[in-house]
Amino acid sequence: MKSKLFITLKSPHEFGGLELVRASAKGAKSALLLFEDAVIFAANAKKGKELLSAVQEIYIMKDDWEARGLPLAVPEFKIVDYPQAVELIMERYEQTITV
């Protein structure tokens, strides 16, 4: 199966894509890349772990994370910058799917 990078810009409150991610990621190498309000997931241990149950890796954007001034509650999340995000999209995963 093609490796999959899921992308979301939605806050935990807005985000309803968990089941879609879980269903389409099953059996594939997969990760989730969090932009904008989606980085708030990193400040909530329970919601963060839920995401980790659906994909193997979770990346959050450094600038979006820093802007919000919140404590990191899910140490498994990896903080990345834009060049790294481009690398994930163009080289490390075969498909990108916005959710």
Partner: protein, 119 residues
Amino acid sequence: MAESLLILVTKPPYGFEEAFAGLRAGLGMLASGLVPVSNALLVGEGTLNAVAAQRPEAVRMPSNMEAINDMLDFEAKVYVVKEDLLHLVGDVPLMEGVEVIDWERARKVIDEHDMVTTF
């Protein structure tokens, strides 16, 4: 160098233009002759776009059923994930021509396409 684009429809009809816009984008690919394969996969609330009893004229919106039929006319596939529909509104009748599938098959559909874009 993508040869196929999957239109992943997650938004329900009429409130947003998204589902209509997505089906239109799929049609654009097929009409261009540059992207040989473009199909649509309806998931979650997106499955409601294939409900047979829709009456878009009630809200003066363009018909998403017509947009689905346009894709079918170009011999594209329009897949609907049954589990998602059942979970949402039960077993309501769907339009003719759409292909009802389960998530097992939906995963294969996603994999058969080079690119996926979500509406």
